[in-house]
Symmetry: C2
Subunit: 623 residues, 2 copies
């Protein structure tokens, strides 16, 4: 236990729940890392699709990101309303379930779970990808580095909510500070001198190879929309905040959205002003947009390396938002019987530990399958997020239509605009990215929904079969019929037989005939059991011999117990299994595991009236 | 079970034991393959060390193999005596244990077990090595081929003694026939024409690079002695023969030794007469001695390829002798408590199945560790055999000195000569091969002896602690104190409680307080249990609440049971654990495994007075 404590911290009592909660400043890294890190790849993703337009393409980045900023503002206002309406955590799953029904809820839940797993895998591999493009000698270790970062995130998260919020504070605010500084450094010469000033000139943009088309711009917009994933995390995690929860959550959301808008708008504007475009990621001399921009305004000094370092960290640790939300989400879904109940229970650090295990395992699986390079997963990634956005907004519309309350028409309108905007974006992203892999989502999400429905059906059936509304029945409380296997007379079997005789007046001892001398066994039985018991005037246990032509020992016993159970009708059969318990595993290898095997076979083949009693004999610990 | 039957044959009844036994003609392949296959590599091993002597070296092969043939004859006569004296199987282990004590027996046992494992690994890899040198395109698949052959030998052996004897008859007698034909073809022109006649001339021998030395000849002799391993198999397996066992075993031994002497003497003579020496196994143009000889007397026609094919088969399947004897040997050793008892029991095909599993696993391990090329193991290999020979002969000397009987002085003399001859050979082999790897044996064998001594000590202690010579004690047969954990009222727990109440008047129900409403639980308890039981005039079970600040469920229960057990003194505690049993593994994932975990923890931390009762509830199978 000591090692567990060092690695993951001491266990937390249920009463310490409140002290584990966080305020806005820890909330931003915990729930905002995913959203904020989008600033590092959203503009790049958009600009990459504009490469064929050459210099002209760079000019389109401003209108595209203006549209994205407007969408962000709509989401901002509608999620504020969601936080107010669902202070217990109003993720898309909850909002959709409560307002649009189980089907919509499951769709949102499946979309979000997919999104979180992809966020974790893509975030880590993007961070490692950036690191490797800075230090190419690390190329052979991509997968190892990915799994190392996953392990770090896992350990930090197992230490609890508060500690993981604090742990990621430094890289988050360092990143935000650096990026804002870059933007200000970019704006200053333009405002004061009227034109940009280059410390290091960016590579020249290639000549245009294609004409502008609406389809191209739509695809660039769809790619840029990956910048909006992660925005919903705060509304999901309202319960993580300390009192007053709702205001703290809304404050956190405001901080995250404002910073994100500033970064996206600033970077888009600066790219246009400085004529910085994306370079071919597969070509030689690839350099990220933010690297070009930072070098252009601040040169390649210490500041450059600190900024690039903070980008790497934020990308790699953006996976953490998934870890903050996924276990909470699966916990809520499981509490509705749609996922294994183990996801509901909170472990030693007050976390949904099994959700963390599941996310870590799924992320590791994706990373290993794709060898740590998850570029091909990126198209899948925005779909889940926008599907969840749309369902959440639509659910809120239904919510206001039903609940009404003060100014409900305005609120309905706001969420309605949000639903339409995110819904149309979803369609655009789906169409633009369908061939590139978004079709996978249309297989995975229905599969998950079917699985969740099956799980619920199983739980429902179990509950129906086992629920008891009647009090304890007291009729027919008769002694069980006791069966005990006996190979040879020993202290172990003596004790088993003594216990068997306390349970019932009807005890049957079963002996499987083997190669040894059966006469000696009969004699031992007569001398050690039959005679003393009959002399004491007690009912003598019956001795039954079983034949085993093929030298099997377990099977004849199990068959016999089943046969007796069939004859006994409603009466319980208690099978007494004496067992030797040894200290270490190597001692266990020296003894047959017949008792274990017999218990297992009786459990597998038995019925509800066959009860197994385990009488342990501890070596070196005589009773 | 059907698949098992197809692969390994139907189960055999104990009464079918006799019909599984074999006669001499099946005995030769079963117990003689190892010895006979030596003819394929013994002369080669001796000649390889004589390469530096050039043509002169070839002349020394005749005196060296004359010495080996004399040794073989000595072993032949002494093992005939051993078979007579130990009709129950007189392996070195038995003879050494009974006549020289446990220490010598363990030494012989360890030596033989090492020898058998090495025989299996080296045999298979030699066969594959020969195959690969004939078809170099198989080079990348060496390990795969080795494991494939191991699997074939495993399956054949699992089908039983008789079937494996029959399965290897064809390759064995084909090999013997071909080799005898080669020798006759070699002799004929020399006898009729006075000088050899070459169909295909062998490669010219290289010039001498060293002078003759005693050390060199001793090393060649030591290498040639690998030709004698496997001779002891028959004396170990007397019980495998059908009645009359001893004459059949002796007849088998005679056939094996006569064929082996004919082959070794014939090959040695022919090599000298035809001037055929070994070629450098690592050099280009390597060709085995038997390949050169066969080509020289019969050309490279169909006969050549059949002969070479039969050599490959016999080498690869020489591992089978180890499979025939190792399980029998470990069974005898285990019956003396020196190895896990599971090795004693005979499986569904009347075999010591666990011995076969162990040998297969160890052989596979060696093959995998050495990548299928086990040349480096060859030096280790004769040591075990000669150590066992020497101990067996020495044991027989002690046997005659004690038992006397008719003509005992002659028999003692014969075994004494055998002991001295094999003992000196052991010293020669050990010294000649020490640096080449024989030193490993001096570490492994004492380690195995220490392990076996530990195993026996454990079994002795268990027997001492558990043996019971007194009859059943009947005083103090009091009802147990029953404890049942209860999370919520359900049919499962209702049934558990009913059963608990049949066991004892003192039932304690334990509830771990969780986050849910405890008032509702109290109310349910009062309505469903306390009131009806007290209305019926029965003793009401006590309800105990356990607090669990860290949300652990198992630990408070286990702690409580241990505490109660401490208070109860000698009285038994029966812990009733109701458990839901589901159909498939995926359903098991949907339910917590608390019942399993509780049972395991109670077994690990409990004491001999804590008895666990498992009350299963089968889904879909209501009682």
């Amino acid at each position: 236990m000591a090692l567990l404590d060092i690695l993951f911290g001491r266990p937390l009592a249920s009463s310490e729940d409140l002290s584990e909660r966080i305020g806005p400043w820890a909330g931003v890294p915990l729930l905002g890392l995913d959203a904020l890190s989008s600033a590092a790849y959203g503009p790049e993703a958009g600009l990459t699709l504009l490469i064929p337009l050459g210099l002209a393409g760079v000019h389109f980045i401003v209108p595209i990101f203006s549209a994205i900023v407007v969408l962000l503002l709509i989401l901002f206002f509608s999620y504020r309303q969601t936080i107010d309406a669902y202070p217990m955590g109003g993720g898309s799953y909850t909002v959709a379930t409560e307002n649009l029904g189980d089907g919509a809820g499951l769709l949102a839940g499946a979309a979000l779970m997919t999104d979180y797993v992809l966020t974790a895998a893509v975030g880590i591999s993007a961070g490692v990808g950036a690191l490797v493009s800075a230090a190419p000698s690390l190329q052979p270790h991509i997968l190892g580095l990915c799994l190392l970062i996953l392990a770090v995130i896992f350990v930090v998260n197992m230490r609890g909510l508060r500690q993981s919020g604090v742990a990621f504070m430094l890289p988050t605010y360092l990143f935000v500070g650096c990026m804002l500084a870059v933007i200000l450094l970019a704006i200053f010469p333009v405002v004061t001198g009227g034109h940009p000033r280059f410390v290091v000139a960016p590579p020249r943009l290639p000549p245009a190879t294609a004409a502008v088309s609406l389809w191209l711009l739509l695809k660039a917009f769809a790619s840029g929309c990956t910048a909006m994933t992660g925005v919903e995390a705060v509304s999901n995690g309202v319960q993580a905040f300390r009192d007053p929860g709702r205001p703290n959550a809304k404050r956190t959301l405001t901080i995250i959205i404002l910073i994100l808008i500033a970064l996206l708008a600033g970077i888009a504007w600066a790219c246009k002003a400085y004529g910085i475009g994306a370079t071919d990621p597969d070509g030689p001399g690839y350099q990220s947009v933010l690297s070009q921009l930072t070098a252009a305004v601040a040169g390649r000094g210490i500041f450059y390396y600190v900024s690039i370092g903070s980008i790497l960290l934020v990308l790699a640790f953006s996976a953490n938002t998934a870890f903050a939300d996924f276990p909470r989400l699966t916990g809520i879904i499981a509490s509705h019987d749609f996922l294994p109940h183990v996801l509901v229970s909170r472990g030693r650090r007050l976390l949904h530990s099994w959700g963390i295990y599941a996310l870590t395992a799924l992320t590791a699986l994706l990373l290993i399958l794709f060898g740590g390079v998850t570029d091909r997963l990126i198209p899948l990634y925005a779909i889940g997020a926008f599907l969840a956005f749309t369902l959440s907004q639509a659910g809120m519309v239904a919510h206001w239509a039903r609940e009404r309350g003060p100014a409900w028409r305005w609120k309905l309108l706001m969420n309605g605009v949000g639903a339409v905007a995110t819904g149309s974006t979803l369609v655009v992203v789906l169409v633009a990215k369908f061939a590139a892999g978004a079709w996978v989502t249309t297989l995975v999400v229905p599969g998950m929904i079917a699985f969740m429905a099956l799980v619920r059906r199983h739980y429902r059936r179990v509950r129906l079969e086992t629920a008891e509304d009647k009090p304890l029945r007291l009729e027919g409380l008769s002694e069980p019929f006791v069966i005990m296997p006996l190979d040879r007379w020993s202290r172990i079997t003596e004790r088993g037989l003594r216990f068997a005789m306390t349970l019932s007046k009807q005890v049957q001892v079963v002996h499987v005939d083997g190669d040894e001398d059966e006469g000696a066994f009969e004699e031992s039985w007569r001398r050690n059991v039959a005679e003393p018991v009959s002399a004491a005037g007690l009912p003598v246990p019956a001795l039954v011999h079983l034949r085993s032509p093929y030298r099997y020992l377990i099977q004849p016993l199990v068959d016999h117990v089943l046969r007796v159970s069939g004859e006994m009708g409603e009466r319980y059969i208690a099978v007494v299994v004496p067992e030797l318990v040894v200290h270490n595993w190597w001692q266990a290898l020296l003894h047959n595991q017949r008792a274990q095997l017999l218990k297992l076979m009786l459990l597998m083949k038995g019925n509800g009236r066959i009860v197994v009693l385990n009488i342990p004999w501890y070596l070196d610990r005589p009773v």
